[in-house]
Symmetry: C2
Subunit: 223 residues, 2 copies
């Protein structure tokens, strides 16, 4: 592996850093090999060899072979949640979420090479796209909880009407729905953007249009 990427939040110990490096090396090896030979012709043995660790170690980092292709950045979820909490209070939940996700996606688009490579791999292997959704859904619960917190903070003296469900309990219906729909919106945006890549419309435009449609209540077009 090459070098010295400042490793986001430079983890304190050498141990932490090395674990991060190994994990990153494994995912990168997996994605590159998949892009070259096709996702399901890549064995764990090949990935492990390319990353310079043993097969057994691979399974210390990932629960399954497919997981290596799915997770590009483990703590994107945490960043989005933080961003949501720090957002201006005058934004609606949908708007706040839109901004948080837009920022994160722009960030991801910056390492353009690995991003497009990864998109290409998922594109050619729908079965991996599904796993990717799974990872997305894992974050969904946590995201819903943060949405609930934000709403609770905003309605402090309003009638806490029916279903925010802040902090401790399971989130109410609205936060869950918002979190889930947001995830779906991201997926649809990416898919549609990939399909129409010949016309080179910026990804941000597709993304904004999707959220505009959602905010308008998915009205019937063309009437």
């Amino acid at each position: 592996m090459h070098g010295m990427t400042g490793k986001d939040a430079a983890g304190g110990g050498l141990r932490e850093r090395k674990k991060r490096a190994t994990r990153a090396a494994l995912t990168e090896a997996a994605v590159r090999l998949a892009a070259e030979h096709g996702a399901d012709h890549v064995t764990v043995e090949a990935i492990s060899a390319a990353a310079g660790v043993s097969v057994r170690t691979f399974f210390n980092y990932f629960d399954s072979r497919d997981d290596a292709f799915v997770v590009v950045d483990a703590d994107v979820g945490a960043r989005v949640r933080r961003s949501l909490l720090d957002a201006p209070a005058d934004l609606t939940p949908l708007e706040a979420l839109r901004e948080a996700l837009a920022a994160e996606l722009a960030e991801a688009e910056r390492q353009h090479e690995l991003w497009t490579l990864h998109a290409e791999v998922l594109r050619a292997a729908p079965h991996l796209l599904v796993r990717s959704l799974g990872a997305q859904m894992a974050d969904e619960a946590g995201l819903a909880e943060v949405v609930a917190q934000r709403i609770a903070a905003g309605t402090r003296e309003g009638a806490a009407a029916h279903s925010s469900g802040g902090e401790g309990r399971a989130p109410g219906l609205y936060p869950r729905l918002l979190a889930a729909v947001a995830g779906t919106a991201v997926r649809v945006s990416v898919q549609h953007w990939c399909d129409r890549q010949d016309e080179d419309v910026p990804f941000a435009d597709v993304f904004r249009e999707v959220f505009a449609l959602l905010a308008a209540g998915l009205p019937a077009p063309g009437r």
Copy 2:
């Protein structure tokens, strides 16, 4: 090839019927065994034995072990599409889709035992819920296409403005988003209904509220 696809209820040949029976036996065996012993302690060998076929035959019906748990009814997608096309023309796409899904869910709720058993299994095994999403997403493309057709039929002489993408090509942004969001809505409804099963609110109520929120553009609650 004309109509008469009796494919649904009374399959034409004996062959077809027997295949359906075998497949149904396998899924039912899988779900029952999973409900009893936990999903990941059920081997294909056990499922095959319970259904009275060989292990190899199991893999003739399902691409993977997990697939036996996810697909309860193979042609629910086809029914929803048909229902969408037959819906009254004065419904918005979102409304039409809501009615189609509501009818299908009510139908599913009728075999209450297997339905709840299945929900319970997926609840205990998030990793299977993910597979379930995959099946959902497989139908998504077809659903989006039908939505596009419906819109195209409704706007015959309007400006076919930006993005319906009827019939042949890949569907436009709106149909895709609508299909995807609808699937998400179903999932969130079921999840939320399962979590709040102690308060016995009817599933239909949760479902209606979710679609009401979507139609209203996911507005900030309590303001």
